[in-house]
């Protein structure tokens, strides 16, 4: 994949947001909120940052790998995988439908190119990513392993087992990102179960922590990922606290947990699409 310039990345992001909304609308189910919020991050990774091959093979030797731990935001991942050539954009039509490879939550059972492990039950992705990163070291493969988690997901105990492990083994070829949108299903994280000082927690666990304060600004997202890479290879795993807004890009969806997992109506879809330019052609 060739590195796309900033202007093109912004264009792709607009199209990916359209895909997310149309996929979720078509089956009246799925998770648009954090998918919209993480769009810049996914586009930056797949169209600029990662060294990857869309002719997909499971072992990914010599490639950067990506793991999605918060599997419910599959719409953004599927759109980006399709738009970067892993499968046809037409296939996005099958999202969550019977006999589809695009399961509600990402899976390997149907052999969808781009997915290396199932996710959906929260808290498991960091462990798998650490395992894959350690194998890269054993194989003398100097590529990176990326993983994305939710912020509500930080409430799962397994995340902290994995955090302790990553620091103990100095898994410094791993770059973990937290979608820090401060929202989860039942409300703001501070009301459901306050994460308090997440940065201090990860630092205390022995990780190198950076903050990307403008997680919906493409330039800032790129700068954050570049910085994360520059801190890799120094004995500590890297954590990128990515401040995003749930529902970003659609005025009536932004900033609230209410759009975590509901689909827009016909009218809401039309309104939302009116706010997002069709840049690469709808599927």
């Amino acid at each position: 994949m060739e590195k796309q310039p900033l202007a093109q990345l912004t264009k792709i992001s607009s199209q990916v947001r359209r895909d997310i909304l149309r996929m979720v609308h078509a089956v009246q189910s799925g998770h648009p909120g954090a998918s919209l919020g993480c769009t810049e991050f996914f586009v930056a990774l797949y169209f600029n940052q990662m060294k990857h091959d869309s002719s997909f093979n499971m072992d990914g030797i010599g490639e950067d790998l990506f793991f999605l731990s918060n599997g419910h935001i599959s719409p953004v991942w599927y759109s980006v995988l399709a738009r970067s050539g892993y499968f046809s954009v037409e296939e996005l039509k099958t999202f969550r439908k019977l006999n589809s490879r695009l399961q509600g939550h990402p899976a390997t059972e149907e052999h969808l190119p781009g997915v290396r492990i199932a996710s959906g039950s929260l808290g498991q992705g960091l462990s798998a990513a650490l395992g894959a990163a350690q194998v890269k070291k054993l194989n003398q493969d100097d590529s990176f392993v990326y993983v994305l988690m939710g912020d509500g997901e930080q409430q799962e105990g397994q995340v902290w087992e994995a955090a302790m492990y990553g620091a103990h083994y100095g898994v410094d070829n791993l770059i973990a990102t937290i979608d820090f949108n401060r929202q989860q299903i039942d409300g703001p994280t501070k009301d459901v179960m306050d994460l308090k000082d997440l940065k201090a927690k990860w630092e205390a666990f022995g990780w190198e922590v950076i903050e990307t304060v403008e997680g919906n600004d493409m330039e800032a997202v790129l700068a954050g990922l570049e910085k994360a890479k520059s801190l890799a290879g120094k004995g500590k795993p890297v954590l990128n606290l990515l401040h995003t807004e749930m529902g970003y890009g659609v005025d009536f969806m932004v900033g609230t947990h209410k759009w975590h997992g509901i689909a827009p109506s016909d009218e809401q879809l039309a309104n939302a699409l009116g706010q997002l330019e069709e840049t690469l052609g709808d599927y």
Binding site: M58, D59, G60, I61, L65, F67, A107, T108, E109, R116, I117, A118, S119, G120, S121, G123, Q124, G125, L126, S127, A128, A129, L130, G131, A132, A133, Q134, V135, K136, L138, N139, D141, G157, Q158, E161, A162, M164, Y165, H168, Y169
Partner: protein
């Protein structure tokens, strides 16, 4: 044990099955550089120390964090490794069921979940550690292979065999010193029942430690003029249905024997096979819907009705129901 019994299989040495795992892992590691080991603070109990010593770069102490261990192992298959995880059977299954379900079974990862101290024969530590539900949990998972070998030699052979098998495996073994009555040079065939003793009146299907009890039971039955067939079902899933059906067609009734709850164990799998293909009386030897407790292995097998005497009783009952 009654010294006057004429046993079809005998032993000169006893050893724990977990040592068979440890020795098998070391050999598998020597044969295949992709074999890696993970352990959750139980290296000595799991007998993984020799592998750790010989292959320090391929061994990962994960601390007391079993959920993370399962996820790490799943991730390590990406890039071609063959991870063997080691902890007690309780913490290998119930503790991490969702992690196994999603990251290993549903994702069809080549992870070998190796579980020691299974069943009552763990002994004095008591019911918190004596898992009797693990086979049921594991056999319900699609893609999962479930194996419960019977002695040191068979556990060693099974450990080496699963390293060459592609796909998730649950390997169950135990703590107590147990007779070594199977050959050292055996070839372990996953999914293939081992026909140990021929008989005509009743078939005893046994797994794990209770295979030895079945061998003893066969001699006791023979002394009373009853001819029992003994079949070692080391692989509970996939089940060797053909072997089960063929034997029961001949004998007309059966007993299942296992160190597990009746609900969800080997007996249930055999019952399914028989009911669909060749309905016949089946008696179960296993734990009947209760937790275990502290005691010696022998005392516990006796109290919970899992020894040779109980297999003999069950065999007679099955024959009477023909």
């Amino acid at each position: 044990m009654d010294k006057t019994l004429d046993l079809k299989y005998t032993y000169t040495e006893k050893k724990d099955t977990r040592s068979g795992f440890g020795d098998g892992l070391l050999e598998a590691g020597r044969k295949n550089p992709n074999v890696v080991g993970l352990c959750a603070d139980l290296i000595g109990s799991l007998k993984m120390g020799a592998f750790q010593k010989e292959f320090p770069d391929r061994f990962f102490q994960v601390g007391i964090a079993e959920a993370n261990m399962i996820g790490l192992a799943a991730g390590m298959t990406i890039g071609g490794k063959i991870p063997f995880t080691g902890t007690f059977a309780n913490f290998s299954t119930g503790r991490v069921y969702d992690q196994i379900r999603q990251s290993v079974a549903y994702s069809d990862k080549n992870v070998k979940i190796c579980a020691s101290h299974a069943g009552l024969t763990l002994g004095e530590d008591g019911a918190t550690h004596q898992i009797l539900e693990d086979v049921g949990m594991m056999k319900m998972l699609p893609h999962m292979t479930v194996i419960n070998p019977c002695d040191y030699n068979q556990t060693k052979a099974a450990t080496m065999a699963i390293a060459e098998h592609e796909g998730p495996v649950y390997l169950r073994f135990g703590r107590p010193s147990w007779p070594i009555f199977t050959p050292a040079d055996q070839k372990f065939e996953i999914g293939k029942a081992w026909h140990m003793i021929d008989g005509t009146d009743v078939t005893i299907f046994a797994t794990g430690h209770l295979v030895w009890e079945a061998v003893v039971a066969e001699a006791m039955l023979r002394a009373e003029g009853i001819s029992a067939e003994v079949i070692n079902i080391h692989t509970i899933k996939p089940l060797d249905e053909a072997a089960i059906i063929a034997s029961v067609k001949k004998t007309g009734c059966a007993v299942s024997a296992e160190e597990h709850q009746l609900n969800g164990g080997l007996g249930d799998s055999i019952a399914q096979t028989l009911i669909r293909n060749n309905p016949a009386p089946l008696e179960y030897v296993g734990v009947n819907d209760s937790f275990g407790e502290s005691g010696t292995p022998t005392e516990l097998l006796e109290k919970y009705g899992l020894n040779a005497e109980n297999i003999v009783k069950a065999a007679k009952k099955a024959i009477a129901r023909k």
